[in-house]
Symmetry: C2
Subunit: 271 residues, 2 copies
DNA sequence: GAGTGGTCTAGACCACTGT
DNA sequence: CAGTGGTCTAGACCACTCC
């Protein structure tokens, strides 16, 4: 006699299917047997079959499509974001001539995407600083901020998506009226150039990386599956006189994103 | 007549409860009404009530405990990991005397934890390089590696947990037999010191940050809730002669972790 | 033992997709 | 139209926790 399997039957089914997927018996893109079919094959109820499939969804292995079927998910290619190099490059570009700036990915903002791949959206609005943001700036809550929201919709299939919210202190940028409206988006040269027009040089940037479940609006824009999480990158820019001048939250679909930080260490012996 | 709400009833219930939680009507740590109770109050079946609660679990708002109840989750405090500073500090410590190294957090490895907070586990084993790891090293798959697995179990309540797997090329470290066994763990001085004993200086470290659902063993060690994700930090160390000398994957519970990278930019004008 | 969440059944109707 | 997954019901038994 082999030993009895005491795990719940839906877990057993989920594991069986997981193994089939990972062995390649059910290749990416292929549909699973339908729910009634699996119920009949295994002799368990459709409710339990659905339970098993929910497990597979939480594991990120399958995607259910209403009216069509449940399909094995293709492992997503993760877009690499090398922020250390990117930030330095963006800053260095400020003093290039405008044509150069317009050409070489002026729309990249925090996304790393070019205007060719996707449709770009920008929305500007004023808003009193929520406590959490005010804290980072080191200003009183309620101070007037300029909030800029950017998001992209893919033109091409599988193009990377992103969504980002950036905050500036309103009075700090108000001296250049061009900065207060989204009419100039995509701004040629990015945030560093915008800040430069009001006399600010960014000295250092701190990235705070966190993962969490998506908010409803994020889940819609990023087209995440149920159970997916998002990576949130809070980028805090500090000026050469030590003040926080921009706080930006970029939200990425976690299964399609990889953040890369390349860190140069000091040598032990310098001859 | 107000407009009819066409959303599924379990979604409506989930949102109602979400609002109650976020308004503080159901404070953290408090139990929700029991499932039969909610079913009776709302007039929907227990199955649908469970569906609503599953939604709240996916949102990370509640935790169900068998036989006790379903409780509002306390928002986790995220442990901040500042790897740029940490790596430089770890490298600089190599040439300090051994007592100093033993005292000042020699056990921190990739975890950032001290031996006082937790029980530390280490396991060494040899293993032929899987293709994915071999790729990173730039060596043929199957080359003998030394795999070191570290994990912690919390002594104190709410102590941070972590799990990490580190890979070294076996032949590269074999000249120091002390490095081949876990008997010396926690090694005083960490990986930089270990490598130094076989004549290697680490020149730069690249962090690759990714989030994904936990593997079963990870979920057990890190005590993640169902639906939680993990943050995976792959740390690739390159020696001064340009070879990859260590690959280490650290796995953190995503809801308790924040990675911080502080990036110094070059100045525009250097007088 | 009473009450909790976890598993499971056998049905039903619906919304959506393809042909 | 038939077939898919999504919602929903009204029950049942179980494992676990706490008194």
């Amino acid at each position: 006699m082999t030993e009895r399997d005491w795990r719940p039957r839906y877990v057993q089914l989920a594991e069986e299917l997981r193994e089939k997927i990972q062995r390649g018996e059910l290749p990416a893109g292929e549909p699973l047997p339908s729910e009634p079919e699996l119920a009949e094959q295994t002799g368990i109820s459709r409710t339990s079959v659905r339970n098993a499939i929910r497990q597979l969804r939480e594991w990120g292995l399958v995607r259910a499509e209403q009216g069509r079927g449940t399909f094995v998910r293709r492992p997503k290619v993760r877009v690499k974001r090398r922020n250390i190099e990117r930030y330095q490059w963006e800053k260095g570009r400020v003093h290039e001539p405008e044509e150069t700036r317009r050409q070489t990915g002026g729309t990249e903002h925090d996304t790393g995407l070019t205007v060719n791949d996707l449709k770009f959206h920008a929305k500007y609005q004023e808003l009193p600083a929520p406590a959490e943001i005010a804290d980072v700036f080191g200003i009183p809550a309620g101070t007037k901020l300029l909030q800029r929201t950017y998001w992209t919709s893919a033109k091409a299939e599988d193009a990377p998506l992103s969504m980002s919210r950036s905050y500036l202190i309103y009075d700090l940028v108000a001296s250049n009226p061009d900065l207060l409206s989204d009419a100039n988006e995509p701004w040629p040269g990015g945030t560093h150039h915008q800040l430069w027009t009001v006399g600010i040089e960014v000295d250092r940037i701190t990235d705070h990386v966190v993962a969490r479940p998506p908010a409803p609006d994020e889940s819609e824009i990023l087209r995440t599956e149920s159970g997916d999480w998002v990576l949130v990158l809070r980028k805090v820019s500090t000026s050469t006189d030590g003040k926080v001048v921009e706080v930006a939250d970029a939200v990425y679909p976690a299964d399609r994103t990889e953040l890369v930080y390349n860190i140069q260490l000091n040598r032990w012996s310098q001859a």
